[in-house]
Amino acid sequence: MLRGSDALPGSPLTGLLLMIGFGLLGSVGLAVGLSHGTPSWVFYTVLPIGVALLVLYVVLVFLPHTAQHRALVEATEAAQRLEERLGDTSAHIQAGDLVATLALAERLPPRLAVSFANAARSLGALVQQIQNSSIEVAVAGNAVNATASELASGSSEQAAGVVEITATMEELARTAAQIAANAASQAELALHAEQTGDTGAAAVEDALHGVEEVQKRISGIASRADTLGARSKEIYRVLDLITEIAQETHLLSLNATIEAVAAGEHGRRFSVVADEVRRLAQRSQESVASVRSLLDEFAGSIRATVVATEEGGKEAGHVLERAQSAAAAIAELRGALADTARAAREISFATQQQRTASDQVVLTLKEVSQVIQRMAEGLKHFSGTAERLNQLALSIQMLTQSFRLDSSRSLKNLGERWADEVALRAGHWEALGSQIEETVRHSPFVELVYVADMNGNVVVSAANPEWVGSDSQSSAVTAGVNAKDRPWFQAVLRDGRTVITPLYESLLTGERCFTVASPVRQAGGPVIGVLGIDVNLRSWTKI
C-alpha cells in the first residue's frame, strides 16, 4: 500500500523546521558575527533576506505542501478503507461466502462493486451449475451403479445357472451315452433273442408235429384197447357160460351121486362116475376162475391202458394246444423282438445323436459361461467405476458446498438462515426447540439439529423422526454432549463463518453424514453460539 510519507519524502513541516533552523542558525551566526565586529549592514541585509526567504518558503512551499499533505492523508485513509473493504470482500470470496460478498460489494466503489457483484454472481452460477451437475452425476452414478450391480448380480446368477445347465447337459450327455450303449446292447440282445426265437419256433414246430404224431399213435392205441376191451367182454361172457355149465355139471354130478346113493349097490359105479364128473366140473370151475382172474388182470390192464391212452390223448391234446399257443407266442415274440431290436437300434442312433448334440451344447454353454463371467467381471468393474464416479460427484458436491450461495441447495446459506432464525429466539430454548423440530420435520435430509452455546454445551436439539422414530426424545440424543473440543465448533468460533465438516459415520443412524456448523450472532454482531446441522449424505444426494 502506498503511504503519504513514501510519496513525499520531505514533509512541509520538516522543511519549515529546516527553514526555521537555518534562520536561527543564521541569526545566531549573525549575532555572533555582530558581536565580533561584523558590520551591521550585513545584519540588516541578511535578516530581511532570510525572513523573505522564510515567507517565500511558507507561501510557496509550506502551505501548498501542507494542503497536498492533507489531501494525501485523506486519500490514504480512503485507500485504506477501500483496502479493508476489498480485503473483507476478498476474504468472503476466499471463504466462498458469495452472499456476503454481494452484500459487501455494494459498499465498494461502483465499478468495483459491479465487477465484484458480477464476479460473485458468475462464480455463484458456476458453483450452482457445478453443484447441480455433480448432483446429476451422483444420481446417474448411483443409477449406473445400481444397474451395474443388478446386472452383475444377474450375470452371476446367470453364470451359475449356465454352470448348472452345463453340468446337467454333461450329465445328460453321459446318460445319453449310457443309454446309447444300453440300447446297442439291447439291440444286440434283441437280435440274438430273435435268432433264438427262430430256433425256438422251429423247435416248437417240430414239437407240434411230434405231438400230433403222438396223439395219432395214442388214438390208435386207444382204439385197439377198446377193441381188446370188447373182446374181453366176449371172453367174460364165454367164461360165464362155462361157469354156468360147470355149475350145472356140478349140480348134475351131485344129483347123480344122490341117485347113485339111492340106487344102493347098483349105483356104486355110477356114483364113481358122478364123482369124477363133479371133480371135472370143479376143475372146470377152478380153471374158469383162474382164467377169469387172468382175464380180470388183462381187462384191468386194458382199462388202465384205455384210461392211460385217454389221459395221454387228453394230455397230448393239451400239449398240442400249449405247443400251438407257444408257437403263436413265439411268433408274436419274434415280431416283438424284431420290433425291439429295431427300436433299440433307433434309440441307440438317436441317443448317439443326442450325445453329439449335448456335447455341442455343453461346449456352447461353456463359451456362454465364459462370456457371462467376463461380462460379470466387466460389470463389476463398471460398477466400481460408477461407484468411483459417484464418490467423485460427491466430492465435487462437497466442494461446491464450500461456497455459500443464495440457493436452497446451498447448505451454508441454509445454515446461515437457520442460525439467523435461532438468533432471533436465543434464550427462549423451549420455543426454539419447537421451531427447530418443525423445521427438521420438513427437511428429510437432516438427521439432527442442535445449538451449542459459547461453552460448547448443547442447549437445544431436534432429531428428525424419519431417522430416529417418532417416539425418540430429541433431548436424549444430545443429552450431556459438549462440542467445545469439536473442530467444527472451534472453526466457527475462530472464523465466524459457516463450515462443513468432512464425511463421518453418524452415531445416530450409522450412515455417512456431515455437519454444517453456522455461527449464531446476536443482532448480526458477536457470536453467541453455534448451530449444528447433521446432514445425511444418502438422503442429501437424493435431493
Binding site: 350145472e248 356140478h250 351131485l254 344129483n255 351121486t257 344122490i258 346113493v261 356104486r268
Partner: protein, 145 residues
Amino acid sequence: MAARPGTSVGALRALIVEAGEYLCAVPVHQVVRVLRALPVHPLPGAAPELLGLAEFTGEPIPVLDLCRLVKAPPGPRPPTPVTVVAWAGPPEARELVGLAADSALEIVEIAPAEVVAAGTQTLCGEASVGGRPVRVLNLEALGAP
C-alpha cells in the same frame, strides 16, 4: 373126519351145503334133487323160516330158509344159490321141502361117532368136515309137531 363116499360101512353120507357162515350136512338119503334156486312165491303171514312156495315136478313145495333154520349169520351174497329138495318129517309122514342154501359143495361121509349131539330139534349134531364144523340137519324132526 369125513370119509370118502362109499369107503366105510355105517357112515352117514351127507350133502354139504353153505348156509351163511355155517356148513350144513343134509343126509343124502333124504335128498331128492339139488337144483338152482327155484323161484319162490312168498306166503303172507308165514313164519320167517318159510320163504314161500316153489314148484317142483309140477307140485308146490314149501321152501325154507336154511340160514334162518340153523340160525347162521348171513354170509356174502352167494354166486350160485341152490335149492335142495329133500324129504322132511317122520318116515310115515314125510314131505318134500325145499331148503334154500347158498351153494351145494360136495357129498361126504361122516362117521356117526364124530357127530356130537346138539341141543336143538333141527340138528342131529355137529361134526368136523375138512377141519370145519358142520351142522348135521335132522330133517325127520323138521315136520314133527
